[in-house]
Symmetry: C2
Subunit: 329 residues, 2 copies
């Protein structure tokens, strides 16, 4: 295992310390590093809280700030945060508007966020994201996994929260964005969880895992490495098929790197996605290319399509100021 770390059991603590310090204008760390929160939250605004295992940075801590999340709870690498983390994040940030939890559909996350919601003394609603079309159930999930599309939900709902919408409206909006968002990923290499010390899975020199999850969990099939255009065609094909009649009109596309793939290749993949969408009836209204929902140093990427109307596009374009996504301010 080759990593820029000190002792394995301090990786999260030291990384969070550096993260919050590098963004001290925006962020504060909760006691014992249980959560990362915005410094400034408008009183009465419903607060948006997410979280999950670490190792997917910038998700979720990197999306805390104006126009996105109010707090994020980081678990150990690829491990759900605990209910007390979530509860403390809620108690520290909620001020009468209630809490919207945005939860990726993994069993540990779902269970722990549910327990926290039950313990909370404020109003709590949950948006469960499950945008991954690759498999119906997976190693750590019952039902589809929540992957890179989660950041699109966080961005759009976060923008709406700044405009004064109430908790019920935000919950409905989040569910709608999730339903209109689909992703699929491919891995070329494994990642290595620091505490494990060895690669999560073995993969041959000429193989790829099509439909991989963001923890390296298996996808649809292990096949020979293909050209980027054929990979894009397969992912877009799976997403369009899953969308059915919804696959038309304006979309936000996200070509998301898993952490170990150069930006040069991600832009090449974006080019292939564009070529694939020509004559599909889908127009790329906005696009995002980069490492946003990662799996440590895994090589590979996911492609997400989020179908949007003018309202959602407006919310996408609204100013955002977080460590991992920033525009308009």
């Amino acid at each position: 295992m080759k990593k820029l770390i000190n002792v394995t059991d301090q990786v999260l603590t030291e990384s969070l310390s550096g993260f919050v310090s590098a963004h001290a204008d925006l962020l504060e760390l909760g006691a014992e590093g249980k959560f990362v929160r915005r410094k400034q939250i408008k009183p009465g605004k419903p607060v948006l809280i997410s979280g999950g295992g670490s190792g997917h940075e910038p998700l979720h801590g990197g999306f805390v700030g104006h126009g996105m999340l109010d707090a994020a709870c980081p678990g150990q690498v690829f491990t759900s945060p605990t209910p007390d983390q979530m509860l403390e994040a809620m108690q520290a940030t909620e001020s009468g508007g209630g809490v919207l939890l945005i939860v990726k559909n993994y069993e540990g996350d779902v269970m722990n966020f549910e327990m926290a919601a039950e313990m909370a003394e404020c109003e709590v609603a949950t948006v469960l994201t499950d945008d991954d079309v690759a498999v119906e159930t997976s190693t750590y999930s019952t039902g589809r996994r929540g992957v890179a599309g989660t950041m699109i939900v966080e961005k759009i709902v976060g923008a709406a929260a700044e405009t004064g919408r109430d908790l019920a409206a935000l919950k409905a909006l989040g569910d709608r964005v999730n339903q209109q968002t689909r992703s699929m990923g491919v891995a070329l290499t494994s990642c290595t969880v620091p505490a494990a010390g060895s690669p999560t899975f073995q993969i041959g020199e000429n193989e790829m895992e099509m439909g991989v999850g963001i923890h390296g969990e298996p996808g649809r099939k292990r096949v020979a490495l293909a050209e980027a255009k054929d990979i894009a065609a397969e992912m877009i094909g799976a997403i369009r098929k899953d969308f059915g009649d919804q696959a038309k009109g304006n979309a936000i596309t996200l070509v998301n790197g898993f952490g170990g793939t150069p930006l040069m290749e991600l832009y090449l993949m974006h080019h292939c996605v564009e070529q694939e969408l020509v004559r599909s009836g889908i127009t790329i209204a906005r696009s995002l290319v980069g490492n946003f929902v990662t799996s440590l140093e895994m090589a590979g990427c996911s492609v997400t399509l989020s179908m949007v109307d003018d309202e959602l596009l407006g919310l996408w374009d609204a100013p955002v100021h977080t460590a991992g996504l920033r525009w308009g301010m």
Copy 2:
């Protein structure tokens, strides 16, 4: 070689196509992909042009836009762009204010930018960056290499160019920032140039290359992989020693990933850099953590310190809108 590509000789063309398309609000591609330019440039403003081999993305194309570069010339991977690329970029963007070339100190780049400057019919000045303290000469350079500090020069000089300073003032400013900026890098793995098809260098499972260049060229020594805090101490120590009496006051710190290291580790390195600078007489006034000047998928990072006064800090903070760096707009 595992990469998200189609045919090897189209990697740059297809990647550029995706890049410019993803940022079509900001950027245009010159004929035959010879350069990337800003759509809007204020007439009469000195234009800032950089370039170099590809594979370092977002540098340089990702730093074209308001408050930074006006054009960038991408060579093939780790290969200098040609003089005609630079000449055409100058002709397409210059409008009476002259051209400032920002050139990383590599022999191929220096030679080709010099040839282009000689052919140009407008006023041309050059800032040569050589911030890498690791070695005095290297595989591809006579004198120190220009590495991640180059982006700090581009940001600060780009901000100044927006305020109406003339070419001579910008050249002097760029030279000053370069002189106040020092970097050092470490590699944990090699990168693989697509056209070569195999790793640039071999490195053992428990080794690191201390002082590596951004093309994987050798640094100071090949040693056993150390803890992050010891790596940070060695890099900061080398930089401080090189600064001598200059090593005091406010600094911008840049912990720059080479492409294959997770963000989680880069923030951990930032934490170690902070710890190392406590009681050093150097105060971190601003910090930046992420993948900005990469070496394809190489694992590792560099640390840069740029000593700044209030003027330089103000220029650093000024709005910037590029694909790779954006704030304030």
